[in-house]
Assembly symmetry: D2
Homo-oligomer: 348 residues x 4
Amino acid sequence: MTEAIRKNFASDNIAPVCPEVMAALARVNEGSAASYGEDSETSALAVRMADLFECRTWVFPVATGTAANSLALSAATAPFGAVICDQSAHINNDEAGAPEFFMHGARLMPLPSPDGRMDPGALDTALTLNAGGGVHTSPVQTLSLTQSTEWGTVYSLDQLDALTGRARAVGLTTHLDGARLGNAIAALGCSPAEATWKAGFDMVSLGGTKNGAMAAEAVLIFEEDLAQNFLRRIKRSGHLWSKQRYLSAQLMALFEDGLWLRHAVQANLMAQRLAHGLRRHPAASLPFDVQSNEVFVVLPERSVAALEALGFGFYRWTTPPGVDGVLIRLVTCWATEARDVDNLLDAL
Amino acid sequence: MTEAIRKNFASDNIAPVCPEVMAALARVNEGSAASYGEDSETSALAVRMADLFECRTWVFPVATGTAANSLALSAATAPFGAVICDQSAHINNDEAGAPEFFMHGARLMPLPSPDGRMDPGALDTALTLNAGGGVHTSPVQTLSLTQSTEWGTVYSLDQLDALTGRARAVGLTTHLDGARLGNAIAALGCSPAEATWKAGFDMVSLGGTKNGAMAAEAVLIFEEDLAQNFLRRIKRSGHLWSKQRYLSAQLMALFEDGLWLRHAVQANLMAQRLAHGLRRHPAASLPFDVQSNEVFVVLPERSVAALEALGFGFYRWTTPPGVDGVLIRLVTCWATEARDVDNLLDAL
Amino acid sequence: MTEAIRKNFASDNIAPVCPEVMAALARVNEGSAASYGEDSETSALAVRMADLFECRTWVFPVATGTAANSLALSAATAPFGAVICDQSAHINNDEAGAPEFFMHGARLMPLPSPDGRMDPGALDTALTLNAGGGVHTSPVQTLSLTQSTEWGTVYSLDQLDALTGRARAVGLTTHLDGARLGNAIAALGCSPAEATWKAGFDMVSLGGTKNGAMAAEAVLIFEEDLAQNFLRRIKRSGHLWSKQRYLSAQLMALFEDGLWLRHAVQANLMAQRLAHGLRRHPAASLPFDVQSNEVFVVLPERSVAALEALGFGFYRWTTPPGVDGVLIRLVTCWATEARDVDNLLDAL
Amino acid sequence: MTEAIRKNFASDNIAPVCPEVMAALARVNEGSAASYGEDSETSALAVRMADLFECRTWVFPVATGTAANSLALSAATAPFGAVICDQSAHINNDEAGAPEFFMHGARLMPLPSPDGRMDPGALDTALTLNAGGGVHTSPVQTLSLTQSTEWGTVYSLDQLDALTGRARAVGLTTHLDGARLGNAIAALGCSPAEATWKAGFDMVSLGGTKNGAMAAEAVLIFEEDLAQNFLRRIKRSGHLWSKQRYLSAQLMALFEDGLWLRHAVQANLMAQRLAHGLRRHPAASLPFDVQSNEVFVVLPERSVAALEALGFGFYRWTTPPGVDGVLIRLVTCWATEARDVDNLLDAL
């Protein structure tokens, strides 16, 4: 099958576009349409999302996760403010300073998060210290969490509640980087509403690209003032598509009938299969729970090199001091098949 | 035919995606591919563009024209600098402050441009004044021109030479907003090289979206330092696609065998047909030469309202003081057919 | 007398510091004091200003007018917004892009102002156009006026009312650049309150440096939210003095017993004396009313060169097209004496 | 004596202005002077500094240390870049995000520095990691160190060499935050040149305010391109004084005949006296070497509260976990007298 990712476990963004999204692009490719989001596909998407999230929801489609996150943070945070996030957050490590650019210099304050999940005690300490900082510090205005986390773990709803509750109690706006939110919801078995606004979030970057789209993420905002502020920043950052129907159509394909969750379930299952196989390998150790679609594993250098030589794709991660072996990351996705996983396990 | 724009002359961005671009998207939708521009389609595009422009060329695909322009200007201009552009420029009127955002507050200095083309005398005066400004002013570092212009006119190569030559003589970097460059090249009958670097430009925003793509523009840079500076800004502004093959494939479809120019020729012909018909209308007057694919015409309010009532799409422009009637803009594109034009002319 | 400016009419910032300000600096130079504005002199200044302006007032001392203006505008304007000002405004022409830097790229929209005063009709047109601009434009959020104007004229209170009333009706914040507000109040004979918040202003940059201080301006804000927003930006821009008592003391010297107005009266009188003399010169013409402490005059090149040769200091201004002669600016200040003026007139 | 700081050890910025600086302000308060740095005092300062630092030196006087640091960093670092500093740096903890504001979002990368001095191994690791980061990270472009450090320690010249040498080898620009450089030079007994450019620094923020001035720091730049870049940012950030003679005069008073070092020697001596006395206190422990004018000491809560009750001024610092007692900071300065120190020791 042409879509299989075969030997490439480097990321969920190396996968092709799923057939349903391609079909949706063809479907909307008819005649003229009003530009800049005034098209009917975008309107339909807004209705669909409000229904799916059971809430009044402002929906902004953009092409990349970095745009989604940075625009959201900039709508919530004054240029003189700060954002608390976990140390492992994508916004902290992988976006080349985009949050700071969009926020005009507001600072990220990363907190320790050993398995990707922020410790409520660390949040408490940071907020207390910041509250006493006065005019010489940047006041924290936003909390940003990641679900599922960058280490493949998943917060329970109670864990989210504890963090967002603490943040909201001191007036912070709450943002969820949900580039892989589908994987977390599939793991938790909760509703989209429970995983987002009912868990205390004001804004969500909801991933599409890693879940089968070409280039499409939806920023969901549950509060009108934030939404108005966000709206004014899209064109200004070059993220307003003139032919927006092609952005909205991708999201409709994923979200109109549950395709996003079917994709997530498949990716999670493949990660479980992979983890299960790896745990049986005598020299492998898995430092984190495998709860979504990312598997981190420490293997001997010799095994890692052998996999590379066989053409398997994955990233070598920074191995923590004191660990014997090499930490690598293996990512599954909607296009991963059981034979792809077995192929890798066999090779190992 | 489903692709026809029928009654919609509002812009060239209301059109659908051309079949060749859709086919290219399907073509690259095979298996896994390296992300963030490390894919083979992007490499092929770079080779193709260097060949087409007969020059060492750095090529950066992005999804929107605003991103292309703003990133280019920010690579050329220090935050304390300034950019000279024409009064009618898209960067000056239609991008919601994106250039200032990307340039971190550097200022646009718009010069009068009655028919969209900058007057060399005005440029000379502005540069002379700025040179004497000292530490209280923003030093001009960049010249940005638009070809074809926002009023549908086209600079001759000599006119471009005069402006870029003056700018380069005082050390400015030169940028061309070529959202509709294909239309200008079709009109001039020159080569892509003659229209760009041979005409004195260091950077070009080369449009794809208005010419048949879904969301794709190519920034072309002819100087290595500028290219390196540009490169560092793409991810930081959320404009680096993880699945970049789908961006590059759109551009390949347009630029690999001349489709972009065939599209431009069609759009220009339809504009000529429209202009020809309008000139025969006793109450119509066309304030500008029709040299590309935009037609501006002054019509009586009654006629304009009648067209609107019939469902024709176009924009009412700000009518200059003293003009009797309403100034409207009609835009043709690759998907405009003769019967679409005739239909409008008949209605009138 | 050592303080006289003698032949230097280039600006009111070429003057020395007045004796009262020097004495105030010596007065506060006693023992230790809490830093960063926690000192008693700063507290006393706040009380004095609230009393002088007959209003609850937040007072922020800073060292330069550019800092005062830019900080104020940035507290009032979102990075995606815009500020309407007059074409001749200091923020538009003389601050090297500081407003755009502090506002993170928000744009200035200068309106024609032939004699320095903004035309209410131009404001009305600009606001109407902007209101319909949608997501492709920068929404105007702030109006900034200058009193006395950069051409030496003074708005009447009715003229101010008309402009600020129009602005407030559509929700704008209003800012007054009052680098020379004392001169305007001296000319109008009104109270400080009447010239500021009663005339519809939310924020004022109140000048001290040009009026006898060393380096001191007071930003006055009449609205709490704006003041809180402003407060967070001072340290972040390097404008919070650790030894703030020395900033506040300068302002106390000027504002505690009316010294600022006595200085302004002297400067205005000297400007009147100068204008009166110039009007008697057969070849001189004065393009603007002389209402404060700036005198613009067109003189033959030969006369201007002669004055320069004699060591008189002043700036040649950009002479408007069609004017025969050279436009120069002569500025008087608190330290200008009658004999300084007569000396220049005699030389002429 | 009125200048004594008496019981206030909170900071060296709570002190008054020294008599020599006050005299210098009076000295230049004569007649008119060209504005914006075109005055003769500023010229004389440039000559003096070049002589003192034995090097071609560009000198920029500004009023605050935050302005000095932030302007310097912004001249060295692109908006997409990053700055390595030590964890305890003033730019990292005490400037309310000013570096990020001036650098337009470029990021600080703080490295562990247990006693305020950066570990060369940590620098090496950070640079190696960053070099492999690619387009998803912010490239480090600048190294900023602090001398004397925020914990009162002083780098040896060899230690500085090792760090700046490593940084320069990979093309970084090097900046020294020398708010208390005089104290370090007094401690090291080296020349100003040896402590700065001979130790590998391209730019220095040289403190005046904490050393007896009213509000004056000198940014020294030893490389022309950096200086030109810096120059363009001063007015734009509101840090160009119109009456600059009063800024330059303060610095002349300190630097023309060695007053800055005499002040530093006095402050250091008083810190030694204080440390000596504290070490004899049975319940006191000093976590760091006392090498300049800051003394950190852990005391029982009861003792700290008693000092506060007696009216002594100092800051309670964040006490590290596991430490029994309260960490406080005591700062001496040029105005500290032996009896002030003894008074505190007696009280204890």
